[in-house]
Subunit: 457 residues, 2 copies
């Protein structure tokens, strides 16, 4: 039996047996209280035991973290909750010694907990974060599946990449101290497992486009890798991405989908993880619940990059970076724009020179049909574009951006064989979880984070 089922029924008089762990144990002379959880619900159960139990003395010494099996009756409670368990029997399944790092005294710092990533999911904070991560992933699948998208597992091992191979990890089966060499003394990749040098991917977009040309609406949801050597709160070398791609869809259609999907996911998490959100609102990020509820009911604004720069130029603020019609939008700008509209903002039609080669160049020849979604309190949450399908323009952009055309010949063929206008976006899953939980550091929303110099466990 799971605790979550007991808490759903809340049936007084019910006899239950549960297995789980002790979060705290306070005993007095004649009775004691155990705060019990099994991980299936955020709410815990108070267990009351008294000296009538033959092993009362033993129970009162059970330490935090111990695994136990408890049986008893659900009764009305005088405490915080409306019900509690009147203990009839308890068995110690796995004890937990006094040097357990997750003691109740003193709240351990998040930095400390990062070093024991294999234990931290047992804490209240990480129970909330990782449950929300799971529910958000589930809601994403639900949204796309219920709208007839096909989930595509694009390959991780690849020779193609739209972000440039210098940002990709190389993989090999060779002993790197003893690699076969060709006649020029270079590593002979023809002897490696795939007979060539291969990488792990930074995006499934190009492969996703191939499937959109078959199924119209597809999405990917899988791990992605970047070799970036940057130690910030928002960068990790391994993270999960969602990359939907939709045939017969232009930039406006894409924004409709992004807005609908985001609202669906946020609403689903609010519905299913209320206890977790209330906890995070109280202890981690005041106003979290209101922020999320507001997003669900807000209308997203749509403005061009040009108009966004206009607003920034007129702003009564001294920015560190001067707003520039040809330039990127800095974090401080994102913040100003979302506060200015007090709503999520789609910024469209970016200068093509600061965007990727596969984005559709607009008629002005200067901007491209790209869109970033800026969300209050989170900054950029999604980035997408309509894709270039004019072969002349595309070939020119490939040259301009120094992309190796030979490895993407197959991709270009997608335009040749029944191509159509189509659009897609990418959402970094961890960015979403940071937004949903109010937890600021990406290291605290990934079960076992990988960042430069850090690959524990």
């Amino acid at each position: 039996m799971d605790l979550v089922d007991v808490l759903k029924d809340r049936k007084k008089g019910q006899e239950v047996t549960l297995e789980g762990w002790i979060r705290s144990n306070r005993s007095q002379k004649n009775f004691g209280f155990i705060d019990f959880y099994d991980g299936t619900s955020f709410e815990t159960l108070q267990i009351v035991y008294d000296q009538d139990l033959e092993n009362f003395d033993e129970i009162s010494k059970y330490l935090i973290g111990s695994a136990v099996r408890v049986s008893g009756e659900i009764v009305e409670s005088q405490g915080r909750q409306d019900i509690e368990l009147k203990l009839k029997k308890i068995e110690l399944i796995g004890e937990c010694p006094g040097d357990y790092p997750l003691q109740a005294k003193g709240r351990p710092t998040r930095e400390f907990l990062r070093d024991i990533a294999y234990l931290r999911p047992r804490t209240r904070l990480f129970q909330a974060v990782f449950k929300i991560r799971s529910l958000a992933a589930s809601a994403i699948h639900e949204y796309f599946q219920s709208n007839n998208y096909v989930y595509v597992h694009t390959p991780l091992i690849t020779t193609t990449d739209c972000e440039g191979s210098n940002q990709m990890f190389k993989i090999t089966t060779f002993d790197m101290n003893d690699t076969p060499k060709d006649k020029d003394g270079n590593v002979d990749f023809s002897k490696d497992l795939f007979n060539k040098q291969t990488y792990i991917t930074g995006s499934g977009q190009l492969h996703g486009e191939a499937f959109a040309m078959a199924f119209k609406k597809i999405y990917t949801f899988g791990p992605t890798f970047r070799t970036e050597n940057s130690n910030t709160k928002t960068h990790a070398n391994e993270f999960w991405m969602i990359e939907p791609e939709i045939a017969f869809c232009d930039l406006n259609g894409l924004m409709d989908i992004e807005e609908e999907m985001l609202k669906y996911v946020v609403k689903s998490v609010l519905d299913k993880a209320n206890d977790e959100i209330v906890f995070l609102d109280k202890f981690v990020s005041n106003g979290l619940k209101e922020k999320l509820e507001k997003l669900v009911s807000s209308d997203f604004v749509r403005i061009t990059h040009h108009d966004a720069i206009d607003i920034l130029k007129k702003a009564d603020i001294k920015f560190e970076f001067t707003p520039d019609y040809e330039g990127d939008i800095a974090k401080e700008h994102e913040k100003y724009i979302t506060e200015y509209f007090n709503a999520p903002v789609f910024i469209t039609n970016w200068p093509k020179d600061i965007k990727a080669w596969y984005m559709k160049v607009n008629e002005d020849g200067k901007t491209c049909a790209a869109v970033d979604l800026e969300v209050p309190g989170a900054g950029e949450l999604m980035g997408g574009s309509q894709r270039e399908i004019d072969m002349d323009v595309l070939n020119e952009r490939i040259k301009e951006c120094n992309v190796d055309a030979s490895v993407i010949e197959w991709y270009l063929n997608l335009r040749k064989f029944g191509g159509c206008y189509h659009s897609g976006f990418g959402m970094g899953f961890e960015r979403l979880i940071i937004y949903l939980t109010g937890v600021e550091n990406i290291r605290d929303v990934i079960p076992f984070p990988r960042t430069p110099g850090n690959c524990l466990y």
Copy 2:
């Protein structure tokens, strides 16, 4: 508008506009038929056009694979289907030249299609396979989420692995022709991104166990890698795995879960992909539908490895491999056993010497609490075990199996801090898809398969 919605309503008199592709185009003197699809449904739509349309001659020359926008009225049909589209307007969005590799004449072989993996999802066969792949993935999430499991993204980049690092790909950010060297002339991994040598994982189980000790019921679902240099129908170097792990669960409880989950997923696919299953039954694997329906209603058998060997030894068959109480069960044995019982069979309590170090050793000291699920027509579909938690036994097994204890110290700590009996299993997702589709070769159930010597696209 998606074709799937039109086909759901089947409302005669409805005016619709659809965008999609031409699967075939047959024209006669005064009229013609287009077989139209947009990928959102397996069923296609017949479009009838006649010479009253001003571009009749042009339409009749539209080639297979072309992308079009069509408008017209849904009317009753005299053909195979009950409805068809009476065309009022058609626009060519993207033409498809005559050298399109997917022509109607002659059925292209699967080997040929593997070499154009970016086009093959447009064929009927791969529309069926990859739609079922998507639906099965969705059903797996549904099953676990509705039963309060937490979905955990275990890391792909790792220094820990339960299968042994010689089976893992190494990853690096170094230019492999110019790696930094230490004073002994070896590659200096302390200068690599993670300051040590790292791998991409062959299993998320150990990390999953850490989360089961926090959430009781968890599952992983993600890509997995093996360097195996074997060219068989069932091996790929990149594949997806589902690895649930359940605290307070013994081997019998695990089998209950495996059976329930498998039935749920198969039933869901039968419900949602009837057209695809009927097609595969007819053209790929006769009896597929009956096989799947039978699985849903069957009771899975549970026997020990010892009893299975007894049955094999008594069999009136000359096996290539002699059944052995201390040995593995060969493919021919799996086949015999499932046919003998005419049902899926759980084989439990395997000789410990042929199983992994983390599996619980039984009281006899010779067997372990492992279980393989053998399914008629597919062989081994899942493999699981109760995990060893006795530290003395575990340390001995680690020594016997030459596991580097230093990299799994954290894992051993899970037993120290409130450990409990727990179990888990792994299911290769592609094995499931092979079973569900009747398509035999793993290369044909993965969007872009990676096998030795093959890493296209």
